[in-house]
Symmetry: C2
Subunit: 414 residues, 2 copies
């Protein structure tokens, strides 16, 4: 076998298999109660609507276009539909500001590619979406801890970046029911972030993958909407909004989108032309077909189901978790973030849990750019029913209590 | 508006709109005879077969899986089908050697990302596929002229790369009916290339997008098949084979594949996990459905149609082109490559042609990494019928003859 390592580019050393992902492969076993996934419940997919969509495509005049190459910016009627939809949440833009991607994961890859030279700094929350770190890693950046409601000065970020040999290029965050914590950044936090970005002259990447999934509390305007309002129009903004149909309609079609000022969109279009030409034509047409006929009804359906599951998980955590643990109370999304007693390791707990309690979750450390905070867990309620949630959390509570007792026994007496 | 340029990564300066692409937007006019496209004829798509495929997916037990997230390496039954299919052309591998991409364009992007650090050298033929240059450009390489049947020594390539500040990482080529020239590399050329790659210890990227479309002459084993035979198994090879369903079935689904040794495939899978998670699940299932039921019949159908068009184009060129022009005689694919009299500029000719003769083609300069050889044209015969081909080439011949006469008049008397 060849020694490939010396032929590979330097960036390839940052593409590693995650131990967690390997562990999660065990979850295919049917007797495991899994809170690991973070994927939508397939029972809620609008499959009848998609069946009609594909059937209409093959029965109508669009069939040849649907199977053919198409433009890199994306299917125009879908971009038009997105323009109308986001106008409802204060994003005033034109189809020229909208770019279709193969899921919002691709948006993160492209934005890393657009902004990050090696050694540049990306500001990300501690913790942040694991997939964003993976996407950005290919461009060999450094990370600094974006403290949304904290007191770090622009100077502090700038100095850290300079020490690491590059510039701060963007702040990435999910402001609504974020993956992994389920938490939301309030209006004041968003304003503070925009002021910081203005001061640093960097882009803001707003990952809105879960934005539609609010179950209670009042909606907060997207960061992009606030930026547009403050600057008098999208062309003066620095916020790049990443949306997705994966959580609302279906992920298997790989359709997401980016909204931003035209200089950014034009570069992304050129990048896509070079990287994969365009996202699947037929799937973009199918998404537009389903979204334009029943997006609101579909979102209402999944919100009802997921909010009941969130309630069940919060109730079960209250009921079964030991006193020295805490967790977030998300107003939407798919995740609750659990903090275990100091010194406990989520990855070790998962190994035990799969072996003895048959409950799965994602250890929290992977979501920290610096690998810190091992005593955290991401729990998804999207794919489990209330009964499974109660049983699963009961087992988890027992496991944590036992592990905590063992840990206390093991402490040296001082 | 923000000054985005200083926030963008250095690589973004190599993502530029091509003048040619802008010019080609004019081709939407219905009265133009276009040989520019290089896209499959939509009239030949197996649309009835795809209609059945999607209908079966939505009527069967696979529907939820088809709409859900799936594994980054690709749909296993499709990878199994590919293993069986390529075994017929001497590529002996397992499903672990096969990786599904969103079209073979994505394979080129990922392979650039995997191998090229800034200033590394990619060897490409002069001319080469324009989209390969665009894909690789994002990784800021240099290019050197891969002379397949020439006499450059390994040392010469190595020295040039070192002068440019990096290493030679791979040789990229399309060995069968290449885009843009339509030419094929013979067996001896392939052997020579593999020997060169062994000597330089680099990868070989074999772009097989057109390999199925052979109209006459005898098939030559793929470079990967020769590499496997010489090295005693795929794990010892250095060739990475990029295949596509875009030319045989339909491009709008964006499904292609890569075959190679496992260290390469494993890295590509990690890369895809980070970059777009996976290619569209439903489209991979649909491609497997159609391919496994009638791939050979579909390929036979398009070969018949395209070979007639190739014959028509070669006949028309013979009939109408001035004596001081020449062109390739492809045994397959979609392209004929025309060389105009020295000093003539393909881009200028296209501007004139669209204005006066209403015939379109792609000027050849864009296919040269160094922008040389402006007196060349790429002519595609895939989307025109024999009558249009005759008329279009008649007009082109007239235009070239006139331009040549003007050019001779304009020559200084020396």
């Amino acid at each position: 076998m060849l020694d490939w390592e010396h032929i590979f580019a330097t960036r390839s050393s940052r593409m590693r298999a995650s131990e967690i992902r390997e562990l999660l492969k065990l979850l295919e076993q049917p007797d495991i109660i899994s809170f690991a996934g973070g994927i939508p419940d397939p029972a809620l997919f609008p499959d009848a609507e998609f069946k009609t969509a594909y059937n209409d495509i093959f029965s109508g005049p669009q069939v040849n276009a649907a199977l053919q190459y198409s433009v890199s910016e994306g299917f125009k009627p879908l971009r038009d539909w997105i323009v109308k939809e986001v106008a409802k949440i204060g994003i005033d833009c034109t189809a020229d500001n909208v770019f279709i991607t193969s899921g919002s994961q691709q948006a993160l890859d492209y934005l890393g590619k657009l902004f990050l030279s090696p050694k540049d700094t990306a500001l990300v929350t501690w913790p942040t979406y694991l997939g964003a770190l993976s996407a950005f890693n290919a461009y060999e950046p450094n990370y600094d801890n974006l403290s949304v409601n904290g007191n770090r000065t622009p100077e502090a970020y700038r100095e850290t970046a300079a020490k690491l040999g590059g510039d701060v290029k963007f702040a990435y965050l999910s402001a609504d029911f974020s993956n992994p914590t389920g938490e939301t950044v309030d209006k004041a936090g968003r304003e503070k972030l925009l002021a910081l970005a203005d001061e640093l002259d960097i882009a803001v990447i707003e990952d809105a993958a879960y934005q539609h999934l609010r179950y209670d509390g009042e909606a907060i305007a997207p960061i992009l909407a606030m930026d547009i309002a403050a600057k008098g129009g999208i062309e003066n903004t620095r916020t790049i909004y990443c949306g997705s149909f994966s959580k609302s309609l279906a992920p298997g079609l790989r359709v997401g989108f980016v909204i931003g000022a035209m200089p950014v969109i034009r570069k992304l279009v050129l990048m896509k032309q070079a990287a994969d030409l365009h996202s699947s034509t037929i799937n973009q047409i199918a998404i537009e077909h389903v979204a334009s006929r029943g997006f609101d009804a579909q979102v209402a359906k999944i919100k009802k189901a997921y909010s009941e599951r969130r309630d069940a998980m919060l109730a079960a955590l209250e009921k079964y978790m030991p006193k020295n643990t805490s967790w977030t109370k998300p107003e939407g999304g798919m995740f609750v973030w659990v903090t275990l007693p100091e010194g406990m390791d989520g990855a070790e707990l998962l190994a035990k849990s799969i072996a003895t309690e048959k409950v799965a979750f994602v250890p929290g450390r992977a979501f920290y750019a610096d690998g810190s905070n091992a005593n955290t867990l991401r729990m998804s309620f999207s794919c489990a029913n209330a009964e499974m949630i109660d049983e699963g959390i009961k087992r988890l509570g027992r496991l944590v209590a036992n592990a905590d007792a063992e840990q206390q026994e093991a402490l040296p007496i001082i």
